[in-house]
Symmetry: C2
Amino acid sequence: MAKKKKDKFPSELRSDPIARDWVIIATGRAKRPETFKRETKKELAADIKTCPFCHIEKEKDKILTIFSKGKEIKNLDGDLNNWTSLVVPNKYPALVPSSSLNEKNVGPYKKMDGVGYHEVVITRDHKRSLGQFTLKEVKEVMDVYHGRYLNLMSKPFIKYVSIFHNHGKEAGASIFHPHSQIIASPVIDPDLNAAVLTSEEYYKKHKKIVYCEMNEWERKEKTRVVFENKEFMVICPFVSKAAFEMIVSPKRHLPYFERITDEEKKYLAEAMQVALQKLYKGLNNPSYNFYLHTSPCDGKDYFFYHWHFTILPKTAIMAGFELGTGIEISTIEPEVAAEFLRKQ
Amino acid sequence: MAKKKKDKFPSELRSDPIARDWVIIATGRAKRPETFKRETKKELAADIKTCPFCHIEKEKDKILTIFSKGKEIKNLDGDLNNWTSLVVPNKYPALVPSSSLNEKNVGPYKKMDGVGYHEVVITRDHKRSLGQFTLKEVKEVMDVYHGRYLNLMSKPFIKYVSIFHNHGKEAGASIFHPHSQIIASPVIDPDLNAAVLTSEEYYKKHKKIVYCEMNEWERKEKTRVVFENKEFMVICPFVSKAAFEMIVSPKRHLPYFERITDEEKKYLAEAMQVALQKLYKGLNNPSYNFYLHTSPCDGKDYFFYHWHFTILPKTAIMAGFELGTGIEISTIEPEVAAEFLRKQ
């Protein structure tokens, strides 16, 4: 017997036999069709009074992680102002915890319930974004990411944990107050899957890690290097998908983000801070997305993969050609972009 | 000896050994880094006086194709007003004709000159877009697409011809006046490449065409069918990448767009007209992209592929999760979207 409508799982994962893509149909966040009608877009409301994240500490029982001035604390301990970063479940989750995946074939397609976790990382200040943070503040954000990653990677069904940050309306942020998101998912996404396969292939053929080859070549060439410290480098990649794209990656070969040390996290924080500061200054606080790519947490060995953050400023719109072909058109050479960013 | 800077080819294709993606670095359209600084976005200027496409017929010697009231004509024949559609080379091309590809390996990457063709299809009316066109007018646009496709597919180096249309600023249109674009490229894009490989695999395994299986299933299910006529169907696909996405595809198995008959083009025109009208009415003239996916024109046999148009309304922004994972989140079920569109 068919489930009653009201029993329907609030989110569904669907997969295509051709692209082998997954999409999430998040009916739990669903809107009536009429609400999609085009309206003149407004800027994001920056009003503190109505900001859902400025008083998030009041929803005490929902808090998953609290940091106060660089250190994780167990609870607010009576002092509601005693926090600098907080993690809470997303109020409109794309994926939702469950005890079963409920996998099915439907026609030529596959589907399963949208099982997983969707969390929001909120930093205290309503206005200041990561590009304006102190080193200590960026380090705290990296600590929060790492802590939540460790927590989520071992949950049942979870094969991949995606950490990402949307800054500015053009980059898809719907709330002004700076925040990052974490989605833990039961499927390995097609982009990462492809990267994992080709980097394994490369290893088998050349007995070398393709990411290390790329980083080494960039260090020789120098023209696309924006910044480096003892452990990390920031480059505008030779094959940039967007103008001013930056990759922040460890110099040592590290396949698993979860294994980062506290010492390494300090250098990561510095590299991220420098990269985002340069964007903030050089391009006048542009909208951007950044996201982590790391080995899946499905228990398999991915020694040939190399984790990194990608920062994508929103300097252009993906239009028909990019959407239709997957080929991006960039109107600035990464070499020129890197030179410009180095000077900031 | 290195080429002098001024001899540099105005566009470069670069490929990544991991994603195996291609990007186009269109230095011919290059801007200074400072021009990427964030500005408050303005609406597209709709002023006829300054519209570059309203008097395009004056650039007579650049015109590649002219149609007048449904028929192709050889030239304007002294009457500058005697046109309804025109094709000209893009003034800021992403790809440029050349007699050599100049392929090279650089470090772990590949690159070649950005060789190809980039054209603009302009319809006469400054304001009316395809969703407001008569059937005869849409048929003319399909004729123009088909004619240019036939012309470009046989040019040297060309392996793929991409036809696409960006409507509205949010969809990446930079000029208000309705226009489509055609890019003929020397590489098969990674998305199409993957689709070709998986549909061949499916054929080898099941001795069936995966696209026909999908269409047949949709016709049985009915819930996602928006419209059908004798030769074409319009569906909101089960695995929709965006809210209100529509696929317009032939019911008969047709791998090669270039082989469409005049009779079939009439039915295609009707299906496109209905789909775009429904979007225009139902969602209040939203921004959208549409693009053609068809078999590559590299001389190989692709009998297992099935050409189609994809229409993607811009109802959301691709943010960190979508960009980082390739998994799209949709907040409306395709079944609900199709029901809404059927009623328009």
